[in-house]
Amino acid sequence: MKIVLDHLTKRFPNRNKKIKEDVIAVDDVTFEIPDGKLIGLLGPSGCGKSTTLNLISGLETPSAGRIFFGDLDVTVLAPENRGVGLVFQNYALYPHLTVEQNITFPLGNLRGKDKLTKEQMHDKAVEAAKLVQIDQLLERKPSELSGGQQQRVAIARALVKTPSVLLLDEPLSNLDARLRLQTREELSRIQKSTGITTIFVTHDQEEAMSISDMIVVMKDGAIHQIGKPQEVYDSPVNLFVAKFLGTPPINVFNGEMRDGKVFIGEEAVLNIKSTENRKVYVGIRPEGFVLASGKEANVLTCDLVRVEVMGRDTSVVSKHAAYTGATIRSIIPSEDVADTSSDKVHFTLKPKKVYLFDAETEETIDFEVR
């Protein structure tokens, strides 16, 4: 089902009663989620992504704006009438019920002509359990399951009523690293096989990028960018989005556009067509560095701190006076790394991995390489 959020705003009264101003958790959010896609709501903690999810589920009512499921306006509809399945961050499985009882719990609420017999409920539970591959665990209690299994039960419980929308709040954050990898593939598989429009919330950009058809980057209640993961990564609209996506994160320098060149410190690192003169932030993805001898044109010279060998790649950690953080991290294919005995390291830059941001507004500046 297509979901449309139309100028959605959620204000909460301030917890500190002395401050009269409301806290704006979600600020005029508008976007459309196409039918049958997997969407990642991404942002740092406190950016309003969970509140957005709660607004979609109906657990919270918006202060302003409208929500549509398909053509139906569900803004004031109670959660149970929206046909949503919700998976909580800590799963919220009922500890006193078995896996099967947990999965069939939503079915027990059906009344009238929708009421199911015990056998029908059991069949549905087995069907949902098979989908998430826990059908051999139906008799167990949640406390006897691993974190990953508990999460599958929670997903099965959300799916058993065949919702039109599946919502997941930080689905992978309670799992260990290895399980996280496995589960995110699993999530993707379940979503594809059911075709249910799925929205999940995460603060982990890698998680969002790896399985989403589309990501929505949020900060301070507002949407910064919406798009396919690779698009957002390749052309971030501003410094925040650029910094938030990618591990290791983008390296940001204080720089300058002057006389058709981009300067970091006193070194010109890129020739550009624009002849505008202005202060900028220069963002360089870790993979945008190429080791150089120092004799080439447009070389960036940094102080070498250390070299971290990671097998396939080598991470070169260095420092520069114009750098905004502590250390610069560049990823170089291991076979390209030759001499690291000097205390200086020289790079040329891949122009496609370099971004310029206005020093004031932090918006991306489009530029063409000369």
Partner: protein, 296 residues
């Protein structure tokens, strides 16, 4: 290794000595007394050994009366007070404004002295030369006939007694249950809401199982506390409980021990052991029931 073994005992010694002298020895003594016929504290002599004490106590009309009173108090007050406390706690946790004020009000009986509460109940129920008590005034206002709740018929006295007991045990139970209710995670209710669960189903299938350990704790301690009732009876009906027909088992033990200047320690010990056997049995039944019904 050997030295370590003694060291452990050495650390335990103060506690063992203390508990031995003030707990274990008296307990054994009670058992011994209960089998010694006609033992006297003054002369330290006995007439014989056997089960005579138990036979005497079990045939004593005062003891039978005390046993009956105790059982009535237990059977009425424990379920009523627990259910009432649950209702009040649910109401308290579902309101936001004035919650603290109501919590304080409900907690007042807990910090009030038993005898002071007794005085309040006197004002409510006691017939004096000047007044019939507030409750009788109310009954009369609705066209009923005044009842003497303190020196009147047995059912009236028992009614006051049970009301008093429930009122006095309520605050603690409310306190425990409100905190138990607060500890049920909000996410369970949210999950239930998304699934459109009806309030009754939420209560019986989620809330109740989640707080069941605390409910059973309250029932078990409630049973034990009600079996040990004594001071509340004194606060309402004075020290001569046998005459008022409102004695309890602990009251009977006390009277046997200190009544008639010197008392009958053998009878008191036998009665105490019977009380112990009753409480022990009920607690065992409770624990078995709780194993079946308490989840996780």
């Amino acid at each position: 290794m050997k030295q370590n073994k003694y060291k452990g005992w050495l650390y335990l010694l103060p506690a063992i000595l203390f508990l031995g002298v003030f707990m274990v020895y008296p307990l054994i003594d009670v058992v011994v007394y209960s089998f010694e016929e006609g033992f006297s504290f003054v002369t330290q002599t006995k007439v014989g050994t056997g089960l005579y004490n138990f036979r005497y106590v079990l045939h004593d009309t005062y003891f039978v009366q005390a046993l009956k009173n105790t059982f009535i108090i237990v059977i009425i007050t424990v379920p009523f007070s627990t259910a009432l406390a649950l209702l009040i706690s649910l109401a308290l946790s579902s309101i936001k404004p004035l919650r603290n004020m109501f919590q304080t009000i409900y907690f007042l009986p807990y910090v009030t002295n038993t005898l002071a509460v007794g005085l309040v109940f006197m004002v409510l129920f006691k017939k004096t030369e000047y007044s019939d008590g507030m409750v009788n005034l109310l009954i009369k206002a609705f066209g009923g006939e005044a009842v003497d709740f303190i020196d009147g018929p047995y059912w009236a006295k028992m009614f006051v007694m049970c009301l008093y007991t429930i009122w006095i045990v309520l605050p603690f139970k409310i306190l425990i249950l409100t905190s138990a209710l607060a500890s049920v995670k909000e996410d369970y209710y949210k999950a239930a809401r998304v699934d459109g669960t009806r309030p009754a189903r939420i209560f019986f299938r989620i809330t109740l199982p989640m707080i069941s350990p605390m409910i059973f704790y309250l029932i078990i301690t409630g049973f034990i506390g009600a079996f040990k009732a004594y001071s509340d009876e004194v606060a309402l009906f004075g020290t001569d409980l046998n005459a008022a027909g409102m004695n309890t088992m602990v009251g009977y033990v006390y009277d046997m021990l200190y009544g008639n200047s010197g008392g009958y320690p053998s009878f008191a010990s036998a009665a105490a052991l019977i009380l112990f056997a009753v409480v022990f049995t009920i607690t065992c039944i409770n624990l078995m029931a709780s194993k079946k019904n308490v989840h996780y």
